[in-house]
């Protein structure tokens, strides 16, 4: 176990853990947007900034990808940290002023004014959708493209996401809920990626439970018999 302090309090972490997850577990409230414990930390949003003091040197760093190290002193709410976080939030809000989540987080930070020309983007570029699709689902349907302020998450060639299996993981993981999924009749659509797939019907209960394409992909990968998904999960149990 690795011992270190957060705001003067002793905490313990295991090798390989990052400061943010230990802090959150211990009840410290560090704002974050692009961090999700199920995928590798990325460090894009820059909200989880903390000051870390190590071997006499102190620096401002993101806590989601800073490894727990013996004897470090972490400070989650110094003036410097709070000022930096507030400005980062202001920049995010200027990008996506219509986001209820950002508005709430801003209010909590005491940010009342956005001094920049407001854009009307919806995506905060945290990358969670792409990271989940790549690391956990393995469908590789969407990814970051372009550079600088043209950066965005899109399917290749910005058309329909032809690798998408409409599992909905990206929809759930998106912190600002801008991907969207809807089901109408026997079709499921992941709105943002313009992906509509026909759903398979359960032989027993008659419900449309998952997209054909998705089930086929899973069947192929796991080498399952052809009729494996003829019955839905609920009926099988």
């Amino acid at each position: 176990m690795i011992s270190f302090t957060i705001d003067g309090q002793m905490v313990e972490g295991k090798k390989g853990q990052n400061v943010l997850e230990v802090a959150l577990d211990a009840g410290f409230d560090i704002p974050h947007l692009c961090y999700n414990e199920n995928v590798k930390p990325y460090g894009a949003c820059r909200l989880c900034l903390v000051e870390v003091s190590r071997k006499g040197r102190s620096k401002l760093t993101t806590s989601c990808n800073y490894p727990v190290l013996e004897g470090i002193e972490v400070f989650t709410a110094t003036d410097k940290v709070l000022r930096a976080r507030k400005m980062v939030m202001e920049l995010l809000l200027a990008m996506c002023p219509g986001s209820p989540l950002l508005q709430r987080m801003a209010k909590e930070m005491g940010l009342n004014e956005v001094r920049f020309k407001k854009e009307d983007k919806d995506c905060i570029l945290c990358g969670l959708c792409a990271r989940v699709c790549e690391e956990i689902v393995g469908a590789h349907a969407i990814q970051f493209a372009f550079r600088g302020d043209r950066r965005e998450v899109v399917p290749p060639f910005q058309g329909e996401a032809t690798n998408c299996i409409a599992c909905g993981a990206c929809v759930i993981v998106c912190p600002v809920n801008v991907i969207g999924m809807k089901e109408e009749g026997d079709e499921r659509t992941i709105t943002r990626w313009k992906r509509t797939l026909k759903m398979k019907q359960c032989k027993i209960c008659g419900n449309y439970f998952a997209p054909w394409y998705q089930l086929e992909k899973i069947r192929e990968k796991a080498n399952l018999p052809k009729d494996f998904f003829d019955v839905c999960y609920t009926c099988r149990s």
Binding site: N65, A84, M87, V88, L91, R151
Partner: protein, 631 residues
């Protein structure tokens, strides 16, 4: 990528064989032989040196008196402003601004008869004296060209030329007379600091890498010179690629690496060709590959091409790019020297840093540390460009003042204009005003005044440069080049550029200046890599030294340097107008009306319709009578 025919070379299998080969090469060269050296650097290329080379080839081919005369096309000589450059050895006669038409007379007069063609000599701007040899030209006098000087003697496509000037002697000394730890000690003694911008002590970097855990290690040469206005690395790689290679082999031996990579910028095709050729030739002679010169040391070098991204020069982004991914930096809590390329200990250094290694090994760290200042040893190659008379590449000892570089070497500001600022360190650096011209050039001193050494770009600006426009220019560059991962960098540079645009277009407010400083602060503090980390420097340094200029744009909607077009007004002076009509013809929006004066008709002075004027300045450029005023 293969180049041309296969190079058949005799593999050398010992230092003795190398020396023997070197002596063979030297014996075939007569020191009194006439060698015509033509600079083939990029500056001269743009000035048309190829036509000069072709002219020499033709005249040498056609003449019966051509024996004993050889032609050598070399890398950059540094005095780019005066190209094409021709230096005739052994007398070192320095001809500048040579045209293909001059070549026949150079041959018949200078080469055959020893007569000097005065009009091709450099003329001293003050005394009017015509200067004969290269070393007496004021541009070169105050330089100390221990790294760059060899460019003039080497055809970069011939390893024999590099051997003839003593190349690879340092390698032999390192491999056979020194232990790796001793090599590192020597580099530490020399206090060689990174020449790419970071200024980190190379010796310490090498030591950490040597000590890092792991059997597989890498050395990398960062040739992704991205600072606009800097082309030193390009010229070194194009003109003397073996000096860089030799440094890398020595470094790899010291660290314990068996593989190296040279990451060459996409925009430098000639540098790419020349380094590849150098690698093939070195391999052919057995200076690269398995069991180099029978020392037991294996090492080989591979090339990786950049894709056209400034951020690719950032060390962790570069490493990602070599591994086959986008050039996106990663968090560096764990340093590259411990976990870099493919998670192995990696030493990444700049082109110029590697090129300094052979001379340090050969002459010793003590000798090297006599040059320069306390904190900055050795020399630095700068690209002296912009509003300066003698533009080109200059190599000077650290500690020389900016004034000496700009005035003694650079020849001052053209057209009698007034010096305003010198920008150093590229987009990560800042602007230094006249009051600080006596500042000695040194890593720490430059940082103290709000700029930095950077890779060596030195851009001189005069009274006709608008400092707000310069800040906007750099912010535009940075926001385009930002990889976009970090909110603070992507949005920060974007918003700073937005505010600067507002100011230069006449919509600025005084509170924008404080907002710019705040944005600068968060961009630097909250971003992951040095692109974001140093992004605010151009803005902050211009605000520090030229605040009045910003205020003038904001409060009086005026651009004193007459650069910001939205704040300009073009007006034709009716009393001066000769009614020639050139301006009207040049105007793209037909905003100029009037009547041409001819033999039969009187003519009406021309007028610019302000509503239609787009302030492109074409009328101003085309008027030969100075009849157009810019306010």
């Amino acid at each position: 990528m293969r180049i041309g025919r296969e190079i058949k070379m005799q593999r050398l299998s010992s230092p003795q064989e190398l020396e023997k080969y070197r002596q063979e090469i030297l014996s075939q060269r007569n020191l009194n032989q006439t060698i015509v050296t033509v600079c083939g650097g990029t500056g001269c290329h743009a000035a048309g040196c190829h036509a000069v080379v072709d002219a020499f080839k033709k005249v040498l081919q056609e003449s019966v008196k051509n024996n004993g005369i050889s032609l050598r096309v070399t890398g950059c000589h540094g005095f780019c402003e005066r190209g094409p450059l021709v230096v005739i050895h052994p007398k070192e006669i320095f001809y500048q601004r040579v045209k293909p038409e001059d070549v026949p007379s150079i041959f018949s007069e200078t080469i055959l008869k020893g007569n000097i063609l005065e009009h091709l000599l450099y003329e001293h701007p003050v005394t009017g004296e015509r200067i004969l040899t290269e070393k007496d030209v004021p541009f070169y006098k105050k330089q100390m060209r221990i790294i760059f000087g060899n460019n003039g003697f080497i055809d970069p496509t011939k390893i024999e030329d590099y051997l003839a000037v003593g190349g690879y002697q340092a390698l032999v000394k390192a491999l056979f007379s020194m232990r790796p730890e001793e090599i590192i000690q020597e580099v530490k003694k020399a206090n060689l600091r990174g020449r790419g911008g970071g200024g980190f002590p190379a010796g310490i970097k090498w030591e950490s890498c040597r000590r890092a855990k792991g059997d597989i290690k890498y050395v990398i040469c960062n040739a992704d010179e991205g600072d606009p206005g800097a082309y030193m690395d390009r010229s070194l790689l194009e003109g003397n690629p073996h000096s860089v290679l030799e440094g890398m082999i020595i470094g790899a031996f010291a660290i314990g690496a068996k593989e190296g990579y040279v990451y060459v910028r996409h925009e430098y095709p000639l540098a790419l060709t020349n380094i590849m050729m150098a690698i093939e030739q070195a391999r052919g002679l057995g200076l690269l590959g398995k069991n180099i010169l029978n020392s037991g040391f294996d090492f080989d070098v591979f090339i990786s091409r950049g894709g056209g991204a400034f951020v690719g020069g950032e060390s962790s982004a570069l490493v990602a790019s070599i591994a086959g991914d986008v050039a996106e930096p990663r968090a560096k809590h764990i340093h590259l020297v411990e976990s870099g390329l493919w998670n192995r200990p990696t030493t990444l250094n700049n082109v110029e840093t590697w090129a300094n290694v052979p001379v340090i090994i050969l002459k010793g760290g003590d000798w090297y540390s006599q040059i320069g200042t306390e904190g900055s040893k050795g020399t630095k190659i700068f690209s002296l460009v912009g509003k300066v008379n003698n533009t080109g590449l200059v190599e000077v000892p650290m500690g020389i003042t900016l004034r000496e570089i700009i005035y003694d070497i650079g020849g001052g500001i053209p057209e009698g204009k007034k010096f305003k600022a010198v920008q150093t360190g590229g987009p990560s650096g800042g602007c230094i005003p006249e009051s600080l011209l006596d500042l000695p050039v040194d890593f720490d001193r430059l940082t103290e005044v709000g700029s930095m050494m950077g890779s060596g770009g030195m851009i001189v600006m005069d009274e006709s440069t608008c400092m707000v426009d310069v800040a906007k220019y750099f912010m535009n560059f940075l926001k385009d080049e930002s990889c976009g991962k970090c909110t603070s960098c992507r949005e920060g540079t974007k918003r700073m550029h937005e505010l600067l645009t507002e100011i230069t277009e006449g919509r600025g407010k005084l509170e924008y200046l404080d907002l710019l400083e705040e944005l600068g602060w968060v961009t630097a503090e909250a971003s992951l890599c040095a692109l974001g980390g140093t992004a605010p420097n151009p803005v902050l340094s211009t605000l520090r030294y030229f605040r009045e200029e910003y205020e003038e744009h904001i409060l009086h909607k005026r651009c004193p340097a007459k650069v910001c077009r939205s704040l300009l007004k073009y007006r034709i002076l009716p009393e001066v107008c000769t009614m020639c009509g050139r301006c009207a013809k040049a105007c793209p929006t037909d905003a100029i009306t009037g009547k041409r004066k001819t033999k039969k008709e009187e003519g009406i002075p021309f007028r610019i319709d302000e509503e239609k004027c787009i302030k492109c300045g074409m009328c101003f450029e085309s008027c030969k009578f100075n009849a157009i005023e810019v306010q």
